[in-house]
């Protein structure tokens, strides 16, 4: 077996007095692996860099030691990013973060490394709070202890986890896992470690907490506690609210590459929604073209009704849905089949606003649909003038999210009226307009409260669709093309000749 490459990464800021002791405490048994120590002095005002260099010269250590110094202070997180980058560039397998002040005992390294070396996990968080009062006995100031407990309780509650603590700076990562999270997007401040933790959680990466001893010495703490606590509260809430239309942060759009995968779009079939409503409105055994498959949930429902479904979208098809035909297209081009004759129903599932040029799409669509005027056409869209958007916008907030009315995938936003007038402009007659309530069960779970909210929302929609419909579903009919009308006249004439009126 080849030796694992391990980078012991020491972040140092004004630690000239402490750095030597930290270096001397790194266990010699790590030489069993290919180990390097990297110290990055984050533009200290004292002689941290010189102290580390002097130590390197005086001692004949069994590892390679690299000492670097930043010309400009990069902050706690910014400095770590440079070390992460160094580890990736130099093909290390594991990075172990050690603080230059010795607060986190370097002696524990072999114990913490073990589960990553064995492939059991991808990250180890050394936890000071695993032992109930251990941290206090180790000299952690009471205010920090209480703050840690309170913030951890809050984060556990919001993120639905059950961790000892989120705030440890003793961390070991497999580089493979670091490559899978966009760590360069997170903060440069002291809550860097915390945001990395949240990224690991959201990305579904494996990690383990292992109890460590705490030693608070006479090191100076540079953290502003209140600022830190506020940053943690905020970033945790934002991470949790990714799924709503209120916040979007790219750093929490995880796992990478999966956010647009059809599997990640939740089904809304089990309650009154655009999915269930479309499925209900399509007659059994129809031939359906579904443009904008929205995770394939409508298609799945229609297949169960004996329909034949073809799909068009810019994402790959979910493999478990038996489409007659599926085309993955770029929504910038003409993506429709040249003839719509083979279909009874067209479903435009929340897709018109995703086209780069909705007008161009509808123009082409109208031209083809007019040749098949018996088509049933159902289109759904978010309603940008939904009450919460109105209120938030009045207060100056207009934030795109991962999903919802202000989904980042939408290049154009519609109200019920503007959607109707767009279809009208291209010669469609509006048959029905239905308001769809907000998908409360996705937010609050499938429970009584969600059902009550849905019922209330539906009641309000009865009074005003524009104000209370979260989404709109409209059914339109194309105006028949003259070519089609002429064809009909010819057929009728033929029939009349064979069967003249008496």
């Amino acid at each position: 077996m080849t030796k694992k490459r391990i980078l012991i990464f020491i972040v140092a800021y004004n630690h000239a007095k402490l750095i030597e002791s930290v270096l001397s405490r790194i266990p010699k048994e790590l030489t069993a692996h290919e180990t390097e120590i990297l110290i990055i002095d984050d533009a200290s005002q004292d002689l941290t860099f010189e102290a580390a260099e002097a130590y390197k010269k005086q001692h004949n250590l069994p590892y390679k030691i690299t000492v670097l110094v930043n010309p400009k202070n990069q902050r706690y997180g910014g400095n770590q990013k440079i070390g992460f980058h160094y580890a990736i560039e130099n093909n290390y397998d594991i990075l172990a973060l050690v603080h230059g002040d010795g607060q986190y005992t370097p002696e524990a390294l072999p114990q913490l490394l073990a589960p990553i070396l064995s492939g059991e996990t991808d990250a180890v968080m050394g936890s000071r709070m695993a032992d109930r009062f251990g941290a206090l006995k180790g000299g952690m100031p009471l205010y920090k202890y209480v703050g840690n407990k309170v913030l951890t309780a809050y984060q556990n509650f919001v993120l639905g986890t059950n961790l000892f603590e989120f705030h440890t700076g003793y961390r070991l990562y497999s580089i493979a896992a670091l490559k899978r999270i966009p760590f360069d997007l997170v903060t440069n401040e002291f809550h860097f470690d915390n945001e990395i933790y949240i990224q690991f959680l959201l990305a579904g990466e494996r990690f383990e907490e292992i109890g460590i001893d705490t030693f608070y010495g006479d090191e100076v703490c540079n953290v502003d506690g209140f600022r830190y606590a506020w940053d943690i509260m905020k970033t945790t809430a934002i991470a949790k609210l990714q799924g709503t239309s209120m916040f979007y942060r790219q750093k929490y759009d995880l796992p990478l590459n999966k956010s647009t995968a059809p599997e990640s779009i939740p089904s809304k079939r089990d309650f009154h929604s655009s999915h269930s409503s479309c499925i209900d409105d399509v007659p059994a055994n129809s031939r359906v073209l579904n443009v904008g498959v929205d995770g394939g949930h409508i298609a799945q429902g229609l297949l169960e009704k004996g329909c034949k479904v073809s799909g068009i979208d810019d994402s790959p098809a979910s493999t478990d849905i038996a489409y007659e035909n599926y085309q993955q297209v770029d929504l910038r081009d003409d993506s429709l089949p040249s003839s719509l004759k083979d279909f009874d129903v067209i479903i435009l599932g929340d897709v018109i606003g995703r086209f780069e040029e909705p007008e161009k799409f509808l123009a082409t669509f109208a031209e083809r649909a007019r040749l098949c005027p018996e088509l049933q056409i159902v289109a759904t869209s978010g309603n940008v003038v939904f009450i919460s958007n109105r209120i938030l916008a009045a207060l100056g907030r207009f934030n795109y999210g991962k999903r919802g009315i202000l989904s980042r995938q939408h290049r154009r936003l519609f109200s019920i009226n503007s959607l109707k007038s767009l279809f009208g402009m291209y010669g469609f007659e509006i048959v029905t307009v239905k308001g769809i309530p907000a998908p409360f069960p996705l937010l609050f779970g499938d429970n009584i409260a969600s059902k009550a909210l849905l019922a209330m929302n539906n009641f309000l929609i009865f009074f005003s669709k524009g104000l209370f419909a979260y989404q709109v579903q409209i059914e339109v009919r194309p105006r028949p093309a003259l070519a089609w009308l002429l064809e009909q006249a010819k057929k009728e004439t033929e029939a009349r000749r064979l069967n003249p009126r008496k």
């Binding site: 910014g78 750093k251 780069e356 031209e367 958007n389 916008a393 503007s418 291209y426």
Partner: protein, 251 residues
């Protein structure tokens, strides 16, 4: 891409030269074929402010330079101007280098030396993935610690838009904040967050009044409205800025 004072080109063309002119295709063309071009220098606008802010003899990268309307006045200040745009440029006399590039697909042309200024004037709201673009810009060799980025965008929280949305109206137009070609809409706050997330820091934020002279002509009334708008911006940038301008640099 210029300020969304766009020219409406009605072009009689269809996809097949021999095919009869389709009414629908024609309708689509009239709406879609809008090429931004009208510049605003004479009054207090983004363009006037940007030209004033740029120091003489500097290197400027104008991303989304449209017809290079900023190039001539900058040339007068002895600047070296590199422009990029999705459409080819007709007149290259004032632009020192030009690269045709679709920011949604291509990577930015990389210069061998960082620029003093990078201009993103009403560009970002046209992109499909603004987050990805800003991040790519952050990594690009075109900028370093000394580069100043000047970015502008329409303010979707401008009070007439807030009011009409409150009353259920939200209609895209041929020009302005809700220009049909805007794929993403920003407030001062969300525009700032876009850059801060990618590790830029704000040097200065300015609120810019609505381009009244484009609507009412170069009249006393327009001047009065501009002054009034500027005064209101002092009271609340988020509410009264038609456009927002950020001067940024990397952290």
């Amino acid at each position: 891409m210029g300020e969304c004072a766009c020219r409406l080109n009605i072009l009689l063309k269809t996809s097949h030269p021999d095919a009869p002119i389709s009414l629908y295709a024609l309708l689509a063309e009239t709406v879609i074929d809008i090429r931004p071009y009208q510049a605003k220098f004479e009054f207090d606008s983004t363009h006037a402010r940007v030209i004033r802010a740029i120091e003489s003899g500097t290197r400027v990268l104008d991303i989304g330079c449209a017809d290079g309307y900023l190039a001539a006045p900058l040339k007068g200040k002895g600047c070296y101007i590199v422009g990029t745009d999705i459409y080819p440029i007709k007149d290259t006399t004032d632009v020192d280098e030009f690269y045709q590039s679709d920011l949604n697909q291509d990577t930015l042309p990389e210069a061998n030396q960082p620029f003093d200024y990078v201009l993103l004037l009403d560009v970002i709201e046209h992109l499909i993935n603004p987050e990805q673009f800003v991040h790519q810009l952050r990594q690009s060799s075109n900028i370093d610690q000394n580069t100043e980025i000047i970015a502008t965008t329409g303010n979707v929280a401008f009070f007439p838009i807030r009011l009409s949305l409150l009353f259920g109206q939200f209609e895209y137009q041929d020009r302005g904040i809700l220009d049909r070609t805007h794929t993403r809409l920003f407030t001062a706050k969300s525009f700032r967050a876009l850059f801060e997330e990618a590790d830029f820091e704000v040097i200065e934020m300015q609120g810019i009044p609505a381009p009244f002279p484009l609507i009412f002509g170069d009249t006393l009334f327009s001047k009065f409205m501009l002054a009034l708008n500027r005064f209101l911006i002092l009271a609340s940038k988020g509410l009264f800025s038609f456009q927002i301008l950020y001067r940024l640099r990397i952290k």
